[in-house]
């Protein structure tokens, strides 16, 4: 909301308001200042308005809150000498969505005068003078007082006026020259030839005021907020009028603004107000809200006296009756947001100042509750993987149909009705597609190796809707090492991922070859701990006797796999052989063509000292197996 400082000052009578004061008070009243600039000799403030406060969509509305805070009052609305009389044109309110319609007829004089102040003001507001008194005056009053009005060229109207719901398919041509097809939910002002305005949203082309207009029909009305909002949204037609009607205008201003507008136009053009009359009824005064002082004290954290609270509310325009323990408050007609006691507490505290509220830590009797397993698990996994050299990614929860795998659940249950695009149209069934895209992008950026993981929900379709499963996915690929003299370069192979799985004590993982040298796996994380894992495991005694290590160098044919050999050896070895691993595979010089040399390492340990002889015995049983496996000692 744009607010020129000079106009704000004009609204607050008898008080010079400095920019510093405005900057200090407005944010603390709930209206932060987005931007300040000097423009055309004035200071223009851009103020952020909260969605519930339709009354501050006018400079007078903002001035009212400031005046209340400063303990002063607003100047009165400019008066007018317009007198109401009989209806000069038939206006029928057919729909309850328009409860009240104030009209007037003005004979325009011949003066083309528009005050300089008005032209300048409209420019400050980001609008501009249309060089038509009825339009410029209407716009000025809208910005200053928040009541949208409209002027029709009376001589273009055909017969009587009806405020009614549009007929489905009825076409309306707006001031902007665009034709729009209406539905039976849109409220229109119509003459006998059809709609002449989209109520509270936009005037019509056929009856618009031009330089040739001699007589106008002035409209100042009350339209249903939801109806205006719905039409404006459906037609994507957000106007200054729909913005204000859509949030609710002040019923008490409808007639005074009709009068002010009519008189202003007559004055500027040296014309005359011919008639002014009203159709329908203004809404009843809101019923009082009961505000107990104990509620106020509880919420404020300290007692606030009845008279103090009453004074604040009255300054905001409320009518207040006070008894010993409570206030009965009739909110002002412009405050549609005040409907219950808590709303009034906020008003009192807003004027008291939130800075005057104490700062106290609550003393809570309740014991703290434990942290949930899924949260703790997610944090532990990510820290663990980060320590192992992997980077956690954050990707969006969507994927496109081309990312779907054959095994995924029926995508229709995971489909969004209003996605940002086809590639974001499904809740994902796997984390790997997004992770792969991130990995490829990084390889393209020149990274030699990528180690990425993500922990996020993936979705499965069920009749009642998508179910989420917290899932861990990991991608490892590219070329590791080779960046210093001690770490040889190596291509990431499935064996690397198997080693990682072993390190992480994961059950069997299904390694997916994602192409372009990228390998990955994905596994659902449990929703409950499998067993109550103690913080420190149960102590199992371990051997303190020396470990005996033996290496065996073997010559095997190329193509021989290690697994079966290890199993065969383990079968003949006793349990005290705690470890058997192949620590080196060598081809080349010194090894016959078609063969390779394997270095196997055996480690023995028991609850006693092992003798060399017995270890020798065990090693011999292994060596004895070799001929049958076509393996020779090297």
């Amino acid at each position: 909301m744009r607010v020129p400082l000079s106009i704000l000052q004009k609204e607050i009578s008898g008080r010079i308001l400095s920019l510093d004061q405005v900057q200090q008070y407005l944010p603390m009243l709930g209206f932060p200042i987005e931007h300040i600039e000097s423009l055309s000799g004035d200071t223009l403030l851009e103020i952020e308005i909260t969605a519930n406060r339709s009354d501050v969509l006018s400079i007078r509305g903002i001035a009212r809150d400031l005046a209340a805070k400063l303990g002063t009052t607003l100047g009165p609305l400019p008066g007018s000498s317009v007198t109401e009389g009989a209806s000069a044109l038939s206006i029928r309110l057919e729909s309850p969505l328009c409860s009240f319609y104030a009209a007037s007829i003005v004979d325009l004089g011949s003066s083309p005068y528009i005050p300089y102040d008005t032209t300048k003001f409209l420019e400050l507001m980001g609008s501009s003078s249309k060089a038509l008194a009825s339009v410029d005056a209407s716009n000025e009053l809208l910005y200053r007082f928040g009541q949208p009005t409209h002027a029709f060229d009376l001589d273009t109207l055909q017969g009587s006026i009806t405020v009614r719901l549009a007929k489905s398919g009825e076409v309306f041509v707006g001031l902007d020259g665009i034709s729009r097809t209406l539905t039976a939910q849109d409220l229109v002002i119509a003459d006998e030839a059809g709609p002449i305005a989209l109520a509270g949203v936009l005037g019509g082309e056929r009856t618009k005021v031009t330089a040739q207009t001699r007589r106008i029909l002035v409209e100042s009305a009350l339209f249903d907020a939801v109806s205006v909002r719905t039409t404006a949204h459906r037609l994507n037609l957000h106007t200054e009028a729909s913005n204000r009607f859509g949030r609710g205008v002040d019923p008490s201003q409808v007639v005074p603004i009709r009068n002010l507008l009519s008189q202003t136009i007559a004055q500027w053009t040296e014309g005359k107000v011919i008639a002014a009359w009203n159709v329908g009824l203004l809404p009843l005064v809101a019923s009082p809200i009961h505000l107990s002082l104990s509620l106020l004290e509880r919420m404020a954290g300290r007692p606030i006296s009845g008279p103090d609270a009453m004074a604040h509310l009255e300054r905001l325009g409320a009518r207040v009756l006070m008894d010993e323990h409570a206030l009965n408050v009739i909110p002002p007609s412009w405050r549609h947001d005040l409907t219950q006691a808590e709303d009034l507490v906020e008003e009192v505290l807003r004027l008291e100042g939130y800075d005057r509220i104490d700062s106290v830590l609550p003393s809570v009797q309740a014991d703290p509750l434990p942290m949930p397993f899924e949260f703790t698990q997610r944090i532990q996994w990510s820290e663990r993987l980060a320590h192992l050299g992997f980077f956690q990614t954050l990707t969006f929860g969507f994927q496109g149909p081309s990312d779907e795998t054959a095994s995924a659940s029926d995508p229709s249950g995971r489909r969004l009705s209003n996605p940002l695009g086809e590639e974001y149209s499904l809740m994902r069934s796997s984390l790997l597609p997004a992770l792969k895209k991130a990995a490829l992008q990084n390889l393209r950026n020149g990274q030699a190796e990528v180690r990425l993981f993500e922990i996020a929900p993936v979705y499965q379709s069920y009749p009642e809707g998508p179910h989420s499963v917290l899932t861990l996915a990991l991608i490892w690929g590219g070329r590791a090492g080779g960046e210093d003299v001690l770490t040889p370069a190596q291509t990431i192979t499935p064996l690397h991922l198997m080693g990682l799985a072993q390190t992480l004590q994961l059950p069997t993982i299904h390694i997916v070859d994602l192409g372009e040298g990228l390998l990955g796996f994905e596994l659902p994380l449990p929703s409950k701990p499998s067993a109550v894992a103690p913080l420190i495991p149960h102590f199992v005694p371990y051997s303190r006797h020396p470990m005996v290590q033996r290496d065996l160098s073997l010559l095997v044919s190329q193509g021989q796999t290690y697994g079966p050999i290890e199993s065969a050896f383990k079968k003949v070895l006793p349990g005290v052989c705690k470890s058997l691993r192949c620590v080196e595979v060598y081809r080349g010089k010194g090894v016959p063509e078609g063969q390779e040399a394997w270095l196997l390492r055996f480690q023995f340990q028991a609850d006693r000292s092992l003798t060399t002889e017995e270890v020798d015995e065990w090693m011999k049983t292994v060596v004895d197996l070799l001929p049958s496996m076509q393996i020779t000692l090297r």
Binding site: Q23, G30, N52, D355, D358, M427
Partner: protein, 361 residues
């Protein structure tokens, strides 16, 4: 067939007993060569002695002794060459050129957004808050109705909120606040004695961190997915002073002890009164800069006292219980702390970004 160690002459048997110990004790190449000479040398070694012995051995023991000799030869040779390798590589490392590029162990990182999330959780854990998580796929009831958001509220529109084609009442939560509704509903459940869970606990305080979705195109300040942390405390006679006390403490713990916090009125349908919480701009220290739009303050979270409609919707007596709630955007705080100007970087997963955002130790 087992090895016949009994065929060894006592001196060699004893030497073999000590063999492993001697090998481990060897400190350099000379030690190894000395042992090689004694055990497997070409002249007068244990091995040559045994080979000689084999010649004189009667026929019936010859095979056994031969097997034993083969075994010992292999054992001695491998152990000695292995130890030699160890000693050589050890001496090589002690003479390594220390001006070479050293190998660096691989280092990863937890995503900065999650690190901040964990940090926020840990700050509130000190006040006894636990974590309550909720699903990302929510009902309109939890995301809007239960939070006092009007049926025609603009946020419900399909231009703002993602809905599911086959399940029109389901949506992607637009904030973490529906967890409030879930927890409150659970707390209003009564046991067989008619006592609600809330009454038996005596109150509750929790945080709900998580992903939220809004139908925004991706740009430097918008993303269709981002993270929030919601907080709620329900107890007896809770007022704004408690909200202020809690958030002042938390913001100082989060952003530094010298953090100045300001509370001003704000509006959210599920709280009343509502507030916006600002911190003094950490960049310009309140002098006014581009980031704080010259105001000296930065809006960091929204909060307020829980709206009585939210409590009553969940079945909780709003005359007996009261509380406060607050919510903050994790990316927003991350951007303030890191001075990172572009939200998209947090979701592009570029290793250059993730490496630069690694925890500073």
């Amino acid at each position: 067939m087992s090895l016949r160690f009994d065929l060894l002459p006592p001196t060699i048997a004893e030497a073999h007993q000590h063999f492993e110990a001697w090998v481990s004790a060897a400190q350099d190449v000379n030690d190894i060569n000395r042992l090689k000479g004694v055990f497997i040398g070409r002249k007068a070694s244990h091995l040559t002695l045994l080979t000689d012995l084999l010649k004189q051995t009667p026929k019936e023991s010859k095979a056994d002794l031969g097997a034993l000799i083969n075994h010992l030869k292999m054992t001695w040779e491998t152990a000695l060459s292995l130890r030699l390798e160890q000693l050589v590589s050890a001496s090589a490392s002690s003479s390594v050129d220390l001006t070479l590029t050293p190998p660096v162990l691989p280092q990863g990182a937890v995503h900065p957004i999650q690190r901040l999330e964990v940090h926020i959780v840990s700050v509130f854990r000190t006040l006894g808050y636990h974590v309550e998580e909720g699903p990302e796929v929510e009902t309109e009831e939890h995301n809007f109705d239960g939070l006092n958001i009007a049926p025609n509220h603009p946020a419900r529109r399909s231009s703002d909120t993602f809905y599911f084609e086959a399940h029109p009442h389901l949506l992607l939560r637009t904030h973490t606040s529906p967890v409030q509704v879930r927890v409150l509903k659970r707390l209003s459940q009564k046991n067989s004695q008619g006592v609600s869970l809330l009454e038996s606990l005596g109150g509750i305080r929790f945080l709900s961190p998580g992903r939220v979705y809004r139908k925004d195109e991706i740009d430097p300040t918008h993303s269709p997915m981002f993270h929030q942390v919601e907080g709620m405390l329900i107890g007896k006679n809770i007022g704004l002073q408690h909200l202020k006390g809690t958030l002042s403490y938390a913001m100082k713990a989060l952003l530094g002890a010298d953090t100045e916090v300001r509370f001003r009125p704000g509006y959210f349908p599920f709280v009343e009164p509502g507030c916006e919480v600002d911190v003094k701009c950490p960049l310009c220290k309140g002098q006014g800069c581009r980031v704080c739009k010259s105001s000296g303050w930065i809006e960091i979270l929204g909060a307020g006292l829980v709206h009585p409609h939210v409590l009553s919707h969940a079945g909780i007596d709003s005359t007996a219980w009261s509380g406060f709630a607050f919510g903050m955007g994790i990316e927003r705080i991350a951007m303030i702390i890191s001075e990172c100007p572009d939200l998209r970087l947090f979701f592009e997963n570029d290793l250059r970004f993730l490496q630069s955002m690694r925890e500073v130790r």
